[in-house]
Symmetry: C2
Subunit: 318 residues, 2 copies
Amino acid sequence: MNTTHTTPKIETIKEAQERIAGYAHRTPVLTSKQVNEKTGSEIFFKCENFQKVGAFKFRGASNAIFSLSEEEATNGVATHSSGNHAQAVALAAKLRGIPAYVVMPENAPKVKVKAVKNYGAEVTFCESTLEARETTLEKVVKRTGATFIHPYDDARIIAGQGTCAMELLEDHPDLDIIIAPVGGGGLLSGTAIAAKAIKPNIQVIGAEPANANDAYQSFKEGKLIPVQNPNTIADGLRTSLGKLPFSIIIEYVDDIVTVPEESIVEAMRYVWERLNMIIEASCAVPVAAVFDGKVDVKGKKVGIIITGGNVDLENLPW
Amino acid sequence: MNTTHTTPKIETIKEAQERIAGYAHRTPVLTSKQVNEKTGSEIFFKCENFQKVGAFKFRGASNAIFSLSEEEATNGVATHSSGNHAQAVALAAKLRGIPAYVVMPENAPKVKVKAVKNYGAEVTFCESTLEARETTLEKVVKRTGATFIHPYDDARIIAGQGTCAMELLEDHPDLDIIIAPVGGGGLLSGTAIAAKAIKPNIQVIGAEPANANDAYQSFKEGKLIPVQNPNTIADGLRTSLGKLPFSIIIEYVDDIVTVPEESIVEAMRYVWERLNMIIEASCAVPVAAVFDGKVDVKGKKVGIIITGGNVDLENLPW
């Protein structure tokens, strides 16, 4: 496995920013008077739902894929994912002009499978268990010689995701707090490295569904506690925290807070209705944390990373 | 009636831009690789769905209300509207600290009535006919001494709406075409004045539902032909073209094109799914015009004004 396992430095994130600049969007930061009045703070939404493939995942995937050596890249890249990372890898590989092999569970939403195929990736289906995904991936890698791009337990991915907070702080250097959702931890760890290097006294907080609170538990206990098939609408956050992200989060993150399912759905709908943008349930988690008073934001300037907007319109939670 | 009836000049639009700068958002411009590939052009979406009150209408309303003399403003402002203009007037009046009186049809969506009341406006209900709206408004104006703010047949409104194209051309001076939807014509006329003054060889095109094609007919015939209760999902465009907008459109606009209802719904859904933003049916009209090949955009840089995003999530057209 060609993952890299060292905590990226701020310089690595700056390099990532330069590397992906021609490919990724510099996403807009939106504000809402209504949200500010409701929360008694100033909230700045960094809108990765308008990123390529509709999610921040493209930052990490494109940084990882464009930083491969010619030799590593020659046989293409492979990953397993039912979600945004699959699309991100497929598009980044297409842009680099190398093959992409994606292992997807056979029950993955058709629309996501279609999107991955549209980017030119070869899809291999497997049973819907982590074990099946890993063994199928192994076979694909053996057959093709492709380089595995892990969705979060990889320094290149983490550095790529860190570019998002870097942009946000370039646009709004006076933020007091940044909140990001935490699933595998790639985004939160990259955010923490970038934010603390740029502004050491900033608070970096992770937000997690109470129903999938492995990062919260791991953070409080100081050791990795994985989660088994958690039941949360925030499908992007069902995955367990990765090793490398955990080691970074323990060092750089100030707190992790959790929110119940009802609050996630309510915050999701609020953003749809008041901000007129489509966000996934996963990005409603930090919004819910603020609305529920889980983070003390009164009088503060707060950045929230809106991670993605890939939602099945036929299957809305209201 | 305190409307103004002279075609605004580009200087007036520049003044409007300065006047509303502290109140209105400078909205982002989004692009989509998928849209560009689908159309063989470069499309720049000017996202007024992220404007205050969720629609470009706030530009015109705030310009009109902040340009009132102290004397004109002292008894507040009044309007009749079931839609975004009502909210825009209510918020702008609140920001200026003067009363707002809004006449709304008794069948107006509850969510819109609530929004208008939330901004502190006094709502008077009437029957759902243009006549009832106008006579009720007249009574309200007589009772209160408020200044009537017409939704589009007013130079201050037109100048305010023109600030949108001005911003778009500041961000992307190399546009070949700008397309805006046309209902009452305030946006299209303001867009045309701004765009042609800034870049005389730019094409300015209006897009209209085929089912409410009064602007198209008026443009082709060279005289105002009103429409009666047209049946289109694009509820923001059901209104007939206003006099002053018509006189400007005849002079400055290059063409008006129409699209069928199916294309509007399809384009609306496409934008929701691929751009992850919530747009009203009205703003899907120019998008549909491009997708249907009604405007020749091949190889061109095209600005499309996304006018608003206030949609009832319980009542989607799919």
